[in-house]
């Protein structure tokens, strides 16, 4: 009896340690709480008892820096969610794992599942032809507009940027009064130039291989001219150049703006305060006249990247595939950011939650990534300053002069 008790005690003491030894841990840093799966990995743990997922939320604004700092001392998580634009810096610092072979194996193993995924899921995480992560969610910028105000002015949805600018002029002159303005957009200092680059890409703007935008091009000069016109003709709030994102969203939702370039997650809030299809509508940002072939729908995303030091790449891949599972990522898509899976985005549940999505669906599937750059924040800083200069009233320089000046600064980064 004593011997049996002794054996039982030894087993009781050693079993947890043995189990713990067999269990792998995968740590994940999410960039926003909203990206965490609704079941908090409960199903994953049930399906994979040998893998334990531990997660934390590190804001996207600082996750790449924190990750690289932690990586330097060997305590970085296995997976980190970042702004896609920081990819180049992280690869150059040797902090990310090349998972190309794992992705190829996935494509081979389950081609049907793989075909359901939009290209942007891997385009955004590819640097010099190698894949370093998965972009489960991304949010291209489209355009929200006041359908009722356009109708009142006898206008229809503009098909080009030239038509949109003309519509702004008509609205400002004939329909809008007081603090109402035709166009709303964020200023420069508070945010990366995502909105500006979305417009630039729809106007046909191109980038060098290094990720530097070619501003001294027809598209770039057109963009600067567009901003100068908005500011100098009083088509936007005089303080718009100092606005944060909340200010310009508030302007549209507060019925003080007719057009606003935004992403799908914000339209979800817009429909709560303005009646969709009656008061407001969405459209894809239009092309520039004569540059229809260069038109592209930009994409900004928050991909999950894999740590180069991870000890469990197989387990990490299971976690990433779980995050991209249609049944998991749909909960995030419905409540927050769209997912890069056709089956999710064309589901009845998504259409019901986002009734405007059928208008954007085709463009969403064709997103083109906003290129990464080794000095992406300095690139953003120069572009923001350029936009500020372009919005000076009265205009101090011609669009060509501004384009030349800032192209030089941008090129110096390369």
């Amino acid at each position: 009896m004593k011997r049996l008790l002794l054996v039982f005690m030894i087993v009781a003491l050693l079993l947890p340690a043995a189990l713990a030894g067999a269990q792998q841990t995968v740590t994940v840093w999410f960039g926003r709480e909203e990206f965490i799966p609704a079941d908090a990995f409960e199903t994953f743990h049930a399906e994979n008892p040998d893998i334990r997922v531990e997660f934390d939320v590190i804001p996207l604004e600082e996750s790449h820096v924190d990750f690289m700092r932690n990586h330097a001392v060997g305590v970085a998580p296995d997976v980190v969610q970042i702004f896609g634009e920081f990819l180049a810096t992280m690869v150059v610092r040797g902090t990310l794992l090349d998972i190309t072979e794992h992705i190829e194996a996935w494509a081979e193993e389950d081609p049907e599942d793989f075909a359901d995924i939009y290209d942007i899921a891997f385009d955004m995480t590819t640097y010099e032809d190698r894949i370093y992560g998965i972009n489960v969610h991304s949010g291209p910028f489209f355009m929200g507009y006041r359908k009722d105000w356009l109708a009142e002015a006898g206008l229809t949805e503009p098909q080009t940027w030239e038509e949109l600018l003309e519509a702004c002029r008509v609205l400002q002159a004939d329909v809008l009064t007081g603090d109402e303005y035709a166009y709303a957009q964020p200023g420069g200092a508070h945010h990366p130039p995502f909105w500006m680059m979305a417009t630039f890409m729809s106007m046909g703007g191109q980038f060098r291989d290094t990720g530097t935008p070619i501003i001294d091009s027809e598209a770039g000069i057109f963009l600067i001219d567009f901003y100068q016109t908005l500011a100098n003709e009083g088509l936007q709030d005089p303080e718009a150049h100092a606005w944060a994102s909340g200010d310009f969203r508030g302007a549209f939702m507060g019925e003080r703006a007719a057009f606003y370039p935004e992403a799908i997650n914000i339209y979800a809030y817009t429909q709560e305060v303005l009646e969709y299809a009656t008061q407001w509508e969405v459209m894809v940002q239009p092309p520039r006249e004569g540059a229809e072939e260069d038109f592209r729908v930009n994409s900004f995303g928050w991909p999950y990247m894999v740590n180069s030091d991870t000890e469990n790449p197989e387990a990490v891949m299971k976690v990433l595939r779980y995050l991209f599972d249609p049944e998991i990522c749909i909960s995030v898509a419905l409540a927050y950011q769209p997912a890069n899976r056709a089956s999710v985005m064309t589901s009845d549940a998504y259409y019901e939650a986002h009734p405007y999505f059928p208008i954007l669906e085709a463009s969403f599937a064709e997103q083109v990534t906003y290129p990464t750059h080794l000095r992406s924040v300095e690139r953003a800083d120069i572009l923001n300053e350029m936009k500020f200069v372009a919005q000076q009233v009265p205009a101090q320089y011609t669009p060509e002069e501004i384009a030349a000046r800032y192209q030089e600064l941008l090129d110096a980064l390369d």
Binding site: T89, D237, A244, A251
Partner: protein, 303 residues
């Protein structure tokens, strides 16, 4: 002979005891000193050390470059601009802050009923987070929906682009910063005033001194050291101010409110040029040390 020896031994013991007693205060402050050295000095010294290397996350190596980072940054137009913005910001904040602190301290000194409650209330702005302060001031000074502009419109005046015009934006960040840092300097001055002997004022009044004479001839000279400490606080809090400026203007419009602390953050945590950020940190540290020494000398007690 034996008695003399015993006395000598006792004297030695007494001296030893006195020597040990003298060291007790130093032993008592040792834990705090170790904490400060370990946590604060280490970071500062490490930061200064970083400024002599090229630490840039976009580059693979971190070579020793001596003073090159300093020369490069001092040659940058943006650094000079940021330095100038900081001097305006700190000058405005210290000037306005000292005036308000003095006025509030005087008011709180005179208050008798619910004095404790009023002193507690005076601390509230300091207890509110910098981000909350920034958001509040953004709401106050927004062109379209801001309270201040609504008030101007009610008076039949034109709206002002407080956050869109560079000069106005600078004024707004000075006001927000002052609102945030004044309570602490008020308490410092109030402490100085409360330490004064009230009989001095009574004698001065009997001698026919006016209230202004009492203020300039008695109160201010006697609390000079406190004024110096108050100014040190106002200056270093302003040079280091970051958490109000970032959410309020983010350095804009353009770069109109990009003060040194914000520029340091941009360099270090946005541009990932850690060594350049460390150079700005060193500059801010030197500015704080120089101004503190200056204040302590100028406002040395003469009593």
């Amino acid at each position: 002979m034996a008695e003399t020896t015993a006395i000598e031994v006792n004297i030695k013991k007494l001296n030893r005891y006195k020597r040990i007693k003298k060291t007790i205060p130093y032993w008592l402050i040792l834990p705090a000193l170790l904490f400060v050295v370990g946590v604060l000095w280490y970071s500062v010294l490490y930061g200064i050390g970083m400024s002599f290397f090229r630490i840039d996350l976009a580059l693979p190596d971190t070579p020793f470059v001596g003073l090159e980072n300093f020369f490069n940054l001092f040659g940058e137009e943006r650094f000079i601009h940021s330095f100038q913005r900081s001097l305006i910001f700190v000058g405005g904040s210290v000037g306005l802050g000292l005036l308000l602190s003095f006025a509030f301290a005087q008011g709180l000194y005179k208050v008798r009923t619910f004095a404790g409650s009023f002193r507690g209330l005076a601390l509230v702005p300091y207890l509110v987070s910098g981000v909350a302060t920034a958001i509040m001031f953004r709401f106050l000074f927004s062109r379209t929906v801001g309270f201040v502009n609504q008030f101007l419109v009610t008076l039949g005046l034109e709206r002002i682009e407080f956050l869109g015009e560079p000069s106005w934006a600078m004024l707004v960040i000075i006001l927000a910063n002052t609102w945030f840092i004044v309570p602490f300097s008020t308490l410092i001055l109030l402490g100085g005033m409360q330490a004064l002997d009230p009989d001095l004022f009574e004698v001065a009044l009997v001698e026919g001194a006016s209230k202004l004479t009492i203020l300039f001839r008695i109160i201010i000279p006697l609390i000079k050291p406190m004024i110096g400490i108050s100014m040190i606080w106002l200056t270093f809090a302003s040079f280091n101010m970051f958490d109000v400026v970032l959410p309020l203007t983010a350095g804009g419009p353009g770069r109109a409110t990009e003060v040194l602390a914000l520029y340091m953050y941009r360099l270090g945590f946005d541009f990932l040029r850690f060594s350049d950020g460390a150079v700005v940190m060193t500059v801010i540290l030197l500015l704080n040390i120089i101004t503190s020494v200056f204040y302590l000398r100028v406002f040395k007690s003469e009593v």
